[in-house]
Amino acid sequence: MHDKVIARAANKVYPSMAGDVPAIANFDLTIKEGEFVCLVGPSGCGKSTFLRILAGLESLSAGEARIVPGADPRKPLNNVVFQEYAIFPWKTVLDNVAFGLEMRGVPRGERLEIASNWLAKVGLKRFASYYPAQISGGMKQRVSIARALANDPEVLLMDEPLGALDAQTRAVLQEELLRLWEESHKTVLYVTHSIEEAVLLGDRVVLMTAHPGTNKSEFEVDLPRPRDLSTTATARYAELTGAIWDDLRDEVRAAMEAQR
């Protein structure tokens, strides 16, 4: 498998009145095609910033961070699943899922068919004609995930997608994400602050240091797939989350000190 995401010595600096503030310093990351990588770090470490740089929503100050295009040039490089869902309140659930296809000029009949197939996969077919205001938070995030998958990007960028949901809804959606990923084996960069979530979902967990964010360490998650919530009951799962927490604890402390 060749590399799909390449970042070398990535730097991000924000200008401010008091001088430049570094957010990311010399961060390296390589993601292979079909790999599910979770990026974990204390809050404010720049993990979301890095994702947004890859998404083209923010610029890089120095270094390199790019997505390698695939064979099909029409395929979008990336799509983001935002923590705040970011689905359009004025579009129906179906039109939201078809949004990326519509922007790319896919004919109406075709894009609606693709969109309703994805709605079926996330269990929302019945709600196709609803507006976002009429559905719950968990359903909105399913719409957001379906919107990204329907657009079939080279890389799926997920920015704490389950962070705003309650614990039970989050557990249900984690299992759905595992199932969807088994079907597609998409290349995924998944930003989260939850070690448990990262170990459950990812092939690899990349840790970032506190502000400014840079490489801390990496953990291969050798838990067998397909996984589901019962995976969290295994000894290996406990071992991995424990090891990652041991490594991350000091960074979280440092971040708390810095914020105070």
Partner: protein, 347 residues
């Protein structure tokens, strides 16, 4: 639902009868002591409070399914009661019928204004639409136009709506540009905000200087347009600035080009605020046009109010006010209808 029959009967009686008895006692007591003339405001306040207590007691005694209909009955009955009181007070001479003519007289005046053609001014209230078929047969389309031209309501409505559209459309465009581009905003915001606080009616004399025909329609339409423009532009700007940035990012991330961003994200996202600006502008347009018609006009509902002040016929003044209210209600309803059509996701 386990209440005993005796309590269902016993409960509503005293909460209603007690305050009603109080109302009677206060009214009679005040009469006996001769307090009505000087203390009527206080007495009314006490009576009204007791009435509210009685009516709420009555509602509590009703089965739950009647609570909503009861509210609607109150909403219609109380205004009707006020009208009846007005009628009685005016005919009995307790309030001066010169300033407060009884509602029946106002209704009569409204009817007179509607059906009669004022030969002196060559105007009528709504343009006598029942004459349309006859005029159409007699002199064709120009006959119908003449009917429109004699209508006070049409005169006001056309000035106001032309001015409103001429002001609101560029207001939306400029507002969107100012919301999106911080350079344009920096250049225009302070000037616009300064002009915004100026009561636009104050520039009417200036507009009469600017236009070749100071008494024509030009200055009247323009003053409405300017009033609408600033309201709509500044609220549209606020609406565009208030768009959740994550929606703009989502649009961009899913490949929307500039036009698609505008059409699929920026416009629908700012529609709610644009409409609230339009609602404000519509109300202000009505205020401005009526004020302008007071000052410098031979037609329109504002003129009608003012003219009937000059000739001292208050009943017709009230009738004209009723027409202005109806216009306000009608236009607001129309805008609400458009709003629901434009934003189906909000209902």
């Amino acid at each position: 639902m386990n209440r005993s029959p005796s309590s269902t009967i016993a409960r509503p009686v005293s909460p209603v009868l007690l305050p009603v008895a109080g109302m009677v006692a206060v009214a009679l007591g005040a009469g006996l002591l001769g307090l009505w003339a000087d203390w009527w405001v206080v007495i009314f306040a006490v009576e009204f409070t007791l009435l509210v207590i009685a009516l709420e007691g009555l509602e509590r005694g009703l089965p739950f399914r009647f609570h909503k209909p009861y509210q609607s009955v109150l909403a219609w009955l109380f205004p009707a009661l006020l009208l009846a009181a007005w009628q009685w007070l005016a005919t009995a001479g307790i309030i001066n019928p010169r300033w407060f003519p009884p509602p029946t007289r106002i209704a009569e005046a409204l009817w007179q204004l509607t059906v009669t053609f004022d030969r002196f001014n060559e105007t009528s209230l709504i343009g006598r639409p029942w004459l349309i078929p006859a005029r159409l047969a007699e002199s064709g389309w120009s006959g119908v136009q003449a009917l429109f031209a004699e209508s006070h309501v049409w005169a006001t409505l056309s000035r106001m709506l032309i001015g409103f559209v001429v002001g609101a459309v560029p207001g939306i465009v400029i507002g969107i540009v100012m919301g999106l581009n911080k350079t344009v905003r920096a250049m225009l915001d302070s000037t616009m905000s300064a002009i915004y606080v100026l009561p636009k009616i104050a520039i009417f004399p200036l507009l009469m200087l600017v236009f070749a025909d100071p008494f024509g329609e030009g200055p009247k339409i323009t003053v409405v347009a300017i009033s609408a423009f600033f309201l709509v532009a500044l609220s549209t700007m606020a609406g565009v600035q208030g768009i959740d940035p994550v929606l703009l990012q989502a649009g961009k991330n899913f490949g929307a080009n500039r036009w698609q961003m505008f059409r699929h994200v920026i416009v629908p996202a700012s529609l709610p605020i644009i409409f609230s600006g339009l609602r404000l502008a519509l109300g202000t347009s009505l205020v401005v046009i009526v004020a302008v018609e007071f000052v410098r006009s031979q037609s329109g509902v504002g003129y009608l109010v003012y003219y009937n002040w000059q000739v001292l016929s208050p009943a017709k003044m009230y009738a004209a006010l009723l027409v202005i209210m109806a216009m306000g209600v009608g236009l607001t309803t129309l805008l609400q209808f458009l709003e629901r059509r434009a934003m189906p996701w909000r209902s």
